[in-house]
């Protein structure tokens, strides 16, 4: 007990606390992604906002057609890391990236990488649903139009497909031309998912997609994630431990800008390799 107390008091304050220091064989075991086709991978990724370093040496593998969950206390860098995967951090001035992020084996930070194409291939759903103030159909069609995907006559079909895949079609099919702002919060979030799916990304990044939703809407989005992983590689940041346990196969635990542990979800939640992970998932801090 005294042991626990020490950890919970010390870790959040001291960045180089021994509690998360390597030593216990940092990723000494085989990567949990071993034996699977990798979709994305980061190698020794460092990231800083101005003088403040936010990510330290993150090496992580994301296998295809699985759900990988990122958990960790607020400010631990999981969202920052997620946004590194489609270079959304580029738009924040005065940031620096070191290391590599590979998508299908190619470094997305290499010169000559087309950011616009990258973001088409690695889609993103945000914490707060952000439908455009346009009609429902135009929201879904937006990505198709700007990327020149599909002819004018194909667009309605693709819009329907995307809305079906995000389980929203039945609810909106009679009012595709009305404003997306009139949808409920949960519907708006599923619309944003449909919008991201319409451009047929390979990877879907979700940054706490349910944090602003009520339990029923959350269940719907979770069911949707479960469905989608058959075709997509999904990475989800969540503050909700149960959600990580329910939807993901792999879980990565972040702490103070470092990757503490990355393993099969059931292993993380039943038999974590690090003491601090256990403390976090059992709610002793965070």
């Amino acid at each position: 007990m005294s042991d626990t107390l020490e950890v919970s008091v010390e870790t959040p304050v001291e960045p180089r606390s021994p509690a998360i220091a390597p030593g216990r064989g940092e990723r000494s075991e085989v990567s949990p992604a071993a034996g699977r086709t990798l979709r994305m991978e980061s190698r020794r990724l460092n990231f800083s906002y101005g003088p403040k370093q936010a990510l330290w040496d993150i090496s992580l593998q994301i296998p295809e057609k699985t759900v990988t969950a990122f958990i960790g206390p607020s400010g631990c860098g999981k969202s920052t890391y997620l946004r590194c995967l489609n270079r959304m951090n580029d738009i924040i001035p005065d940031t620096r990236v070191e290391g590599e992020v590979l998508l299908d084996g190619r470094d997305i930070y290499a010169t000559g990488m087309d950011v616009v194409d990258l973001r088409r291939r690695v889609g993103m759903v945000f914490q707060k649903s952000n439908p455009f103030p346009k009609s429902i159909a135009d929201n879904v069609a937006y990505g198709l139009k700007i990327n020149g995907l599909g002819s004018r006559s194909e667009i309605p079909d693709r819009v329907e497909q995307a809305l079906r895949r995000s389980a929203l079609w039945e609810e909106v099919k009679d009012r595709l031309d009305t404003s997306a702002m009139g949808l409920s919060g949960g519907q708006q979030q599923r619309l944003c998912i449909a919008r991201a799916l319409a451009v047929e990304p390979e990877v879907l990044l979700m940054d706490e997609p349910c944090s602003a939703l009520d339990p029923i809407a959350t269940t719907k989005v979770e069911e949707l994630i479960y469905e989608l992983k058959r075709d997509y590689t999904i990475v989800i940041v969540t503050h909700n431990m149960q959600q990580a346990a329910r939807v993901s196969e792999l879980t990565a635990f972040f702490m103070l800008g470092r990757l503490v542990e990355h393993d099969r979800t059931e292993k993380i939640f039943t038999n974590p390799g690090q003491k601090i992970t256990e403390d976090y998932i059992t709610g002793r801090f965070g």
């Binding site: 489609n86 616009v116 700007i146 944003c192």
Partner: protein
């Protein structure tokens, strides 16, 4: 108890002062309207809206040429100022963290404060001197220069009110920065931008000084852009300072029409804003 009473009294006093200030602000407006209507309404007739001025010394005629002229001048001004102003506003809002943007912002504010007669002189040097004659084009240009800073600043301010999450959403779908700005941010801010444009129009519709030596005046009916053209404010001015009783009456009528013009723009601004906003919401 005593303290509560005092606080209540202070509160009541402040509310009363606010009310008094509102009344004071509205009184001049009310009197202007009342005076212009009482003086001008009796001189309004069909001829006034359909005829050009009669030769000096002859009674009758109207200001149709000036009304058309004002509309043409406003049209030219908008054609110049709306694209420039909106695009500059987008620049300031989307890329406006740099030094150059600060300079642009400052310049726009200064330009906004430049006396309109000075703007007129500038347009005179730019568009009248080289061709050696007054023209509607020069007048429209002068008015356009006055509109640009207003539109630029309102566009910027309204774009800043659009949540940045929309921009991120567009970028995450593979939009380029410019695409995101013009296909998502500007449409989201459109109701406000339209209001800004209409307010700018209302503001310049009544300008006299910049037109005096650019568009000049014209007693005949014309729609040619390379010729001097009449406008309501200049016509009112010319008639008001002339020694003829009939012209004075016509000047009042012209003033009434001008006020109605500006009023229409303001109402239009409201209606358009409301209409567009409703479209955005549900």
């Amino acid at each position: 108890m005593n303290r509560t009473a005092r606080r209540k009294f202070t509160s009541g006093l402040v509310v009363a002062l606010c009310g008094a200030a509102v009344v004071l602000a509205l009184v001049p407006l009310f009197f202007v309207f009342a005076y212009v209507i009482s003086k001008g309404f009796s001189s309004l007739n069909w001829d006034f809206f359909t005829k050009a001025p009669k030769p000096v010394g002859e009674a009758g005629g109207g200001m149709a040429n000036a009304m058309i002229g004002t509309l043409i001048l406003i049209g030219i001004a908008s054609a110049v100022a709306v694209p420039v102003g909106v695009i500059a506003g987008v620049y300031l809002s989307e890329y406006g963290k740099k030094k150059f943007a600060t300079l642009v912002r400052f310049t726009a504010d200064v330009l906004n404060g430049v006396p309109s007669i000075v703007i007129g002189i500038f347009a005179y040097g730019l568009a009248v001197l080289p061709v050696k004659h007054f023209s509607a084009l020069a007048g429209g240009l002068a008015l356009g220069f006055m509109m640009i800073p207003i539109i630029t600043r309102t566009t910027e301010e309204l774009l800043n009110l659009v949540p940045g999450s929309l921009r991120e959403g567009a970028l995450a779908l593979g939009a380029t920065r410019a695409r995101a700005a013009f296909s998502v941010m500007v449409p989201a801010a459109l109701p406000g931008i339209m209001t800004g444009i209409l307010v700018a129009l209302a503001r310049i519709a009544g300008e006299t000084a910049p037109l005096l030596f650019t568009a000049f005046n014209n007693r005949f009916f014309t729609t040619r852009l390379d010729q001097p053209i009449s406008s309501l404010p200049v016509q009112i001015y010319t008639y008001a300072v002339a020694p003829y009783e009939d012209w004075h009456r016509q000047a009042w009528a012209g003033a009434l029409v001008l006020v109605a013009f500006v009023f229409t723009f303001s109402v239009l601004a409201r209606v358009v804003t409301r209409r567009l906003e409703r479209m955005h919401r549900t």
